[in-house]
Point group: C2
Chain length 217, copies 2
DNA sequence: ACGGCAATCAGTCACATGCCTTAATTTTGC
DNA sequence: GCAAAATTAAGGCATGTGACTGATTGCCGT
């Protein structure tokens, strides 16, 4: 049947993983909707042109599988980081806990990487945006970081808090994607390393979260 | 010949404009690459299924035309705003000059609007990203605002300035797109009005730009 | 009024895609 | 080992797409 996440034969999980990685790369380079399931299957070396359909169901399910695969890897890093910040009441610490797991993962993954560009596109594409945010809520560590950050900013009005949370998410996703794209293009990235990019992002996000709220008019 | 921007008959410019507006809507709702030229032509009421090809050349040229059309409208508002801030040395003033023209244009355009979502997608799609940034550089007012803002932050290192400029751009584009999407979905937007969203964005961006730069390690 | 020409319409063709069917091959449960 | 299930291979089919072609409409200046 359609591989629905249940453990299958080792060959099957290998091809699943191969398709996931191939698709992530193609999607990042050419665009999620611009790449057909057929192209993914063929690029993954599958003679069967319906390999994506067989293993995942459809493109949406493939996208979800890619996201889950990466989330799973980043989650470990998030838990590590979380252990070090837990109990802190400093905005910067919690912002760092939000940023560093992702950038560390990218740095550890060698070069080139594709996940950041893929994620930015998937989050922007109307067909997948809802799914992406939905998947993000499944991370316990991420939710704990969010509440920890909220606790550092008790005076922030609800609407401002919500707006800044959206902005923070947007900023993280697209900033790392921009750097990844620059690395892939060969154009000079604005930060020397993933660590430098992360620190710049943490500075900026901390400034954003702690910015004074001016009244309307 | 292919409508290349030169003034043609009134019927042609009318259909061109009709296609532009139809395409903007379809692209915003379903995704730029997910919508075919054929669908755009038909949705615009053109019996000819190659109307897009005839009037614009290809999808990339259509996207460019949409962007130019909106840029042109926003540019007027930018010049007005610019006249009021010119000479200021306050970061917040220049940030406001960056944000308000777009949000004002969206507020003035009635409801629903589609440009913000379209722009966010086009800027993220690898096939169009370069063109979008290229088009953005054609705005004299925008460039003056950028230099004005830079002048307010003379102590900022080059790399940090560049990184924050990218972040500011990303943040503006996607934040207004998020609000537009929320309006279209019927979900509660995090800001009550375009003005409120703009002020929240200005607060956040000002905080981001003026955030202290911490050294690495 | 009328002839030229831009603009629109209508139909066609080659091609890629998603989905389906069938067969071959590998893995698993017993 | 062996039968059954799972996986991969291979090809076909209907549909949608971009590009091309020729016919038709309607506006323009003379």
């Amino acid at each position: 049947m359609t591989g629905n996440g249940v453990e299958r034969t080792s060959r099957a999980v290998a091809t699943r993983q191969l398709i996931i990685e191939t698709a992530e790369r193609l999607f990042a380079e050419r665009g999620v909707t611009a790449v057909s399931n057929r192209q993914v299957s063929e690029a993954a070396g599958q003679g069967n042109n319906t390999a994506v359909g067989y293993h995942f169901g459809g493109k949406a399910d493939l996208v979800r599988a890619i996201v889950r695969d990466r989330h799973q890897r980043v989650e470990h890093l998030r838990e590590e980081t979380l252990a070090q910040v837990r109990g802190s009441v400093t905005v910067r610490d919690w912002v760092a806990a939000l940023v560093l797991p992702t950038t560390r993962h990218l740095a550890d993954s060698g070069s080139p990487t594709w996940f950041a560009r893929f994620a930015a596109q998937a989050a922007t594409e109307p067909a997948f945006a809802a799914m992406i945010t939905e998947e993000a809520l499944n991370s316990p560590a991420l939710n704990e970081i969010r509440t920890g950050l909220d606790a550092c900013l008790p005076q922030l009005p609800r609407s401002v808090r919500q707006q800044r949370a959206e902005m923070a998410r947007t900023l993280m996703v697209h900033t790392v994607a921009d750097r990844e794209r620059a690395l892939a293009d060969g154009t000079e990235p604005s930060a020397e390393s993933w660590d430098a990019a992360a620190h710049g992002l943490i500075d900026a996000l901390t400034g954003m979260w702690t910015a004074p709220v001016t009244p309307l008019h």
